[in-house]
């Protein structure tokens, strides 16, 4: 608990220096993509993030969210309604583009391919999931190495923990939603056990982080 209060007071302090033009999270423009994982209890947080980032947000956001396998339609539309940017489900071999928001399609794993494109896979479920967050995060980490930011939100199983570890092992930046804020905290807590997490943030702070990050790209 002590850690939390330090972190939170740190944020308040930084808010002040932020106004003086200094950055709170010491970010730069070396990142090339953001991967975002979530499961049970993450939908609200995700729509909040997607509705709060500027529509000129530069980095591609690759989302892998647990979803019903047999329902192909509807989810991407539900996410798009509130989002400042359209959300699309990439086709196999689609090129990743700046400023786009992608969602892993139902019943496929979404892999990031070397050379900035996607590959889909129907292979075995991982952590009882297809799409599996571990697969998206791990393949993205392999492609982008330290130029990747991983964010993991609320969820009821440990999918994503080893993906976050892969991101950290490759030198990337890791963020989980504050377990105290999560509807179901198993997912971020598993990631905290599996690897070093750079920031434990509430959804509003994740938004703050992303907005600050984006300023480095203007």
């Amino acid at each position: 608990m002590k850690k939390r209060s330090i972190r939170r007071s740190g944020i308040k302090y930084c808010k002040v220096v932020g106004d003086l033009g200094m950055s709170k999270y010491k970010l730069d423009n070396t990142y090339r993509a953001i991967v975002l994982g979530g499961s049970a209890g993450s939908f609200q947080g995700i729509t909040k993030i997607l509705s709060s980032i500027p529509d000129s947000f530069e980095l591609p956001i690759i989302m892998c969210l647990h979803r019903l396998k047999h329902v192909r339609n509807g989810f991407v539309e539900a996410l798009s309604i509130k989002s400042t940017k359209p959300v699309t489900e990439p086709y196999d071999k689609e090129k990743l583009k700046k400023g786009k928001v992608y969602l892993a399609p139902s019943n496929y794993h979404l892999c990031v391919e070397l050379g900035n494109s996607f590959s889909l896979s129907t292979e075995e479920m991982v952590n009882n999931s297809r799409p599996s967050i571990d697969i998206t995060l791990e393949t993205a980490a392999y492609s982008y190495k330290k130029r990747l930011i991983g964010i993991l939100l609320s969820g009821a199983n440990k999918d994503g923990a080893l993906g976050m570890k892969a991101i950290k092992d490759n030198g990337g930046l890791t963020i989980v939603q504050d377990p105290n804020e999560c509807m179901i905290k198993t997912m971020p807590e598993s990631a905290l056990q599996a690897t070093t997490i750079d920031h434990v943030l509430k959804v509003t702070e994740i938004i703050e982080f992303l907005i600050e990050l984006d300023k480095n790209y203007k």
């Binding site: 047999h70 192909r72 489900e89 990439p90 086709y91 196999d92 071999k93 689609e94 399609p105 019943n107 496929y108 794993h109 892999c111 990031v112 391919e113 070397l114 494109s117 590959s119 889909l120 896979s121 129907t122 292979e123 075995e124 479920m125 991982v126 952590n127 009882n128 571990d134 697969i135 791990e138 393949t139 392999y142 492609s143 080893l162 892969a166």
Partner: protein, 285 residues
């Protein structure tokens, strides 16, 4: 099996692209399988899986094993290729085949030649066989199913499915709105669902490698769903040329629901019949 193993002891080996290139070159030069143009992200994960399953510490260990026991390549091929499949996957697609595609072909033809390219353990073939029986046109349709993996073809010919998969298959069948219940087509024996053998008695299962194999027949309908996703763009272009050549003019090509011809060189020789279900029609030779 894999997911339990994976769940408990997920180890990502440090696999470099150069390791994968040495492996694919060896298998290509000495063993007649060509994985050099597989999509790197999923191929690396499949190799990682083999290292895990057989307890190799590195790709070098795997290469040594292949060198000392060449027959091991068959097992490698079986593990590299993804053999996870469902009956009636994407039920709305199967309804489309039943209600529009096959009736359309039969408007102009007495019989229909169908190729399941990359049939894996056969679930799509079984789905098609059931669909045809329910349409009452089994006798008019010739099914050919191919895969590059001998052991998975043997499995397909046996037409047995683990009972644990049947729940999903049943659900898909209900969404497909078949005229029976799926249980009419199989009986359970020792934990496996044994399909009615008469369903596939006229299906020709053959070994064929989409990457290295040639054109062997002409078809009215080619199903190649979620097979080319494991290939890179160059290989997709090569394979699509073969699929195109294997189709009669005005024949249908069907790919997976999240595959697309948009980036493929051959796209202008097809028109989209149904974009949602990824059904294309060949309009140019």
């Amino acid at each position: 099996m894999w997911s339990i193993n994976y769940y408990g002891n997920w180890i990502m080996h440090n696999i470099e692209i150069t390791d994968l290139k040495r492996l694919t070159q060896l298998v290509k030069d000495n063993h007649g399988y060509d994985f050099t143009n597989y999509a790197m992200s999923s191929f690396r994960r499949r190799v990682n899986r083999i290292l895990d399953l057989y307890n190799f510490s590195s790709v070098n260990g795997l290469i040594e094993k292949i060198n000392t026991r060449p027959a091991f390549v068959e097992e490698v091929v079986n593990e590299i290729t993804v053999n996870v499949t469902e009956m009636f996957r994407d039920p709305s697609f199967w309804r489309e085949v039943r209600d529009h595609i096959i009736p359309n072909i039969l408007l102009n033809h007495q019989s229909v030649n169908v190729w399941h390219a990359g049939c894996s353990s056969g679930e799509e073939v079984f789905s098609m066989a059931i669909l045809l029986r329910e349409m009452g046109i089994e006798g008019k349709v010739k099914l050919i199913a191919t895969d590059l993996d001998n052991s998975i073809l043997d499995k397909a010919k046996k037409a047995t499915i683990p009972v644990k998969n049947m729940e999903l298959n049943e659900k898909n069948y209900i969404r497909f709105q078949g005229s029976e219940t799926l249980s009419k087509y199989y009986k359970e024996e020792n934990g496996v669902a044994v399909l009615d053998p008469t369903l596939i008695e006229n299906v020709s299962f053959r070994k064929h490698d989409l990457v290295r194999g040639g054109i062997f027949n002409k078809f009215d309908l080619v199903l190649c769903r979620n097979v080319m996703i494991y290939f890179n763009q160059n290989l997709q272009n090569e394979v699509l040329k073969k699929l195109h050549e294997s189709l009669f003019k005005y024949g249908y090509l069907i790919i997976g629901s999240k595959e697309s011809l948009i980036w493929c060189e051959i796209a202008n020789k097809f028109i989209v019949v149904n974009n949602e279900e990824k059904i294309y029609k060949k309009i140019r030779d």
